[in-house]
Each structure stands twice: as C-alpha cells, then as structure tokens.
C-alpha cells in the first residue's frame, strides 16, 4: 500500500506539513517495500491548490493521504480518486505519522475538517 504524507522536508524525520494543498512536498511511502520517494508540490495556483495536489498524489498512486487539515474541494477530489483521507497528523514527524496510522491511532476521516477558502 502507498501512503502519502504532506511534509515540510524530504525525509521521514521531517515535520508533517499541516497544509495539504500548499504543502512543501509529499512523501510517498510504500508499506510493502518500506521505502519512500519525495514528490514535489511545485504549483503556483492562485486557487484550487488542494484540487491540484489531489491530482498530483493520485497520479503518483497514493491510496492513503495523511495530513494536518483538508478542505471540502480537496476532500471531494481525493474521495473521487479513491484515496482515504487522514487528518490531524500535524505536530509530529512523517515517520511518527506513518506509525500512528499503522497502529490504528490515526484513522481515515469521513469529511473535510476545515472550511474552503472560496465557498
């Protein structure tokens, strides 16, 4: 299974980026191989950054997203792409977030946890 974590840095020791759409980058972690790759989130969207980021991680093959917060447009796009959304993982490292998810202390959310910027 491939898990994507919004990250402020490029290693498992980096802090989770609480933002999804405008996250510094994403770590794509492969649970079977125990390896990861860094996916850049270089976009300059005036709007709809969450939608664009959802497209990016969907194309990278993510099945789960772990992040701090997720708004309605990003959430609906992720849902359409079949990606489970886990929010509330800010304040820890990427490695810790993966561990918490695997041990069941972080679980997928059924709805966005913050309001959109444009609605």
């Amino acid at each position: 299974m491939k898990i994507t974590i919004s990250s402020q840095g490029k290693t498992l020791d980096s802090a989770v980026d609480p933002r999804f759409g405008r996250a510094a980058q994403f770590i794509l972690y492969d649970t079977e191989a125990g390896s990861y790759e860094v996916i850049s989130n270089t976009q300059n969207s005036a709007q709809g950054a969450g939608i664009k980021a959802a497209e990016t991680i969907s194309q990278a093959g993510a099945q789960v997203l772990i992040t701090g917060h997720c708004g309605p447009n990003a959430f609906n796009t992720l849902k359409a792409a079949g990606i489970a959304v886990v929010v509330g993982a800010d304040g820890c490292t990427v490695g810790q977030a993966i561990e918490r998810y695997r041990s069941g202390r972080l679980t997928a959310s059924g709805s966005p946890d913050v309001a959109g910027h444009w609605q």
Binding site: G48, A49, I51, N73, A80, A81, W118, Q119
Partner: protein
C-alpha cells in the same frame, strides 16, 4: 470619454469624487458603479432603478457518455476548476472563470456549457445622470466578469465616470482598463501614500493618463504633495478636511449640494480632467486648492 476614479487604498473618497463630478458635469453623463462587491454611489445619487438583469457566467458540464477521461480539459485549466482523475472529470463551478478553454480543447466534444448566476446589473436615472451599477451576489468571489458586463454598458457619447473598486488587483484592472483618464483619489497619510504609489504603478503600466485628487487635505501632512511633485504627477484638486463635508457624507448627501463652496471645486475639477484627458499639453501643474471658510 471614460474617466475612471480609482485609488490604491480603500475609503479615500472615490465614490465622493465620482458622484459629485457626475452631478457637476454640464454634458450627457453616465456613472458606472463598478465597485460591485459594495456599490454605494446609489446612496448619494438615489437613482430611480428601471431595469434589473441577472448576469451569468458559463462553466463546463461533463457529458459522461462522450468523455474518455483523457484529461485534456484538466491540463488546459489554469484555475483548477476541472480535474480529471482516473474517473470522469470533476467540475468546481465556483472556481471557474468562464473562459471556455476546456470546452474548446476537448477532443470528444464531451463538455457542454452550463451557467451560474453571479450578480445583478441595475440601470436607472438619477437626475441628469444615467446610472448603472453591478451587485455581486453574496458568496460569489469572482467580480471581474460582472465588472466587464457593467462596462459593456458604457455610453458611446458624453462622459462616462467609472467608480472603481479599491486596491490594485484583477477587479481594479477590469474597471480601469480602456479608460481615457484615471483619477487617483488619495489621502495624505503615510498609509495613503504607500497605496497611492501602488496605484500609480498600475495606471502607468496600463499606459493611462492620470492625475491625483487629495481628499481630506490637512496642511500638516504634505507627503502626497511632495511625492506627486517629485514624480511630476498633476494634483487635480485638494479637498480640504471639513466637518460639514463629513456630516453631509454621513447623511448620504452630495457635497456640492450640502456645502455650496464645494460646487466650484468640483466644476473646476471636471474641466481640468476633461482638458487633461483630451490630451492638452501638460502645462505647469496648477492645483485647485480648496479654501473653505467656516468650522473645520
């Protein structure tokens, strides 16, 4: 002739200048209130509204039977309003700017055009002034298309005054573009000067002829005057700080009617702007300086 009344900073007196100019002009005059998020010229002009039109903006609608999920639409959209995953594209109408690009690039003709309402345009008469205002619906964020619709109603003859939104972003561009002259209304404070500089940069980039009106001028702070002189920007009028003006404003009255001394100032302002806009050689910067006796 189209005269745009703009400013960088909000609350400097754009509407005050626009409505009082409109009332003082001696030729056919039209006023377009393009501050569509909060149009307020009507408070002072009290127009008789005769026509209301709902304004819509197009957005794509996916015809699922024709779509092959190729993703061309998503790649064409600069606003992330349509996204193609492995499934059929998802459309976010509230993010759509209505450019129609996705519909044009779709190789399957699988996108139709839907519309959403964004606001209302009201047209009417306020004494001799032909009045048009745009009102953006509550909850809408995209004002430039509505502003452009208001401007499409600009008269071909006479003088059209455009009351612009504040700032220097897209709505201001939409409102100011295509004008023959821009009047920048500024207040003489450090903050006012900072934002005036941004507004000057904007109109210069658009290649517009422009001048400055300083509102609520107090003799102690001359930062805007100094700036305009150093940049060779004509100061069209200095409106003095005056208690009676504030009282009239708070009651929704026109300055030129509530405080008769103001009429001369605005009449001279109109003449000055029209001659500047008609491209008279710029002479030495002569400033009309309001001198009003009375309780300040």
């Amino acid at each position: 002739m189209i005269i745009a009344v703009a400013s960088g900073k909000g609350g400097t007196g754009k509407t005050t200048v626009a409505v009082n100019m409109a009332i003082c002009l001696n030729e056919p005059v039209q006023l377009l209130d393009c501050d569509v998020e909060e149009p307020n010229c009507r408070i002072f002009l009290k127009p008789d509204i005769r026509r209301r039109e709902r304004i819509v903006l197009p957005h794509p609608v996916v015809i699922e039977d024709l779509c092959t999920s190729c993703g061309e639409c998503s790649r064409a959209c600069q606003f992330n309003a349509i996204v193609s995953l492995k499934t059929r594209p998802m459309v976010f109408p509230s993010l759509c700017h209505g450019c129609g690009g996705c519909i044009k690039v779709c190789p399957q003709n699988a996108l139709a055009e839907g519309v959403r309402e964004i606001g209302t345009i009201e047209t009417g008469i306020a004494r001799q002034v032909e009045f048009v205002q745009g009102c953006l619906d509550v909850g809408q964020t995209l004002s430039p298309p509505l502003i452009r619709e208001v401007k499409r109603r600009a008269a071909r003859k006479g003088i059209t005054i455009v009351d612009c939104p504040p700032g220097t972003s897209c709505p201001v561009m939409a409102a100011v573009k295509g004008s023959d002259y821009a009047v920048l209304v500024a207040e003489s404070t450090p903050f006012g000067l900072h934002d005036l500089k941004l507004a000057v940069e904007t109109v210069r980039r658009l290649g517009l002829r422009f001048g400055v009106v300083i509102n609520r001028m107090v003799s102690t702070d001359r930062c805007v005057v100094k700036y305009c002189r150093s940049e060779h920007i004509p100061i069209l009028l200095e409106i003095p700080e005056h208690r009676a003006a504030a009282v009239a404003y708070s009651r929704g009255q026109l300055l030129v009617e509530a405080v008769p001394e103001f009429r001369g100032l605005f009449e001279r302002l109109c003449c000055r702007i029209i001659s500047e806009a008609r491209g008279k050689e710029e002479g030495p910067a002569v400033t009309t300086r309001g001198k009003i006796v009375g309780t300040a």
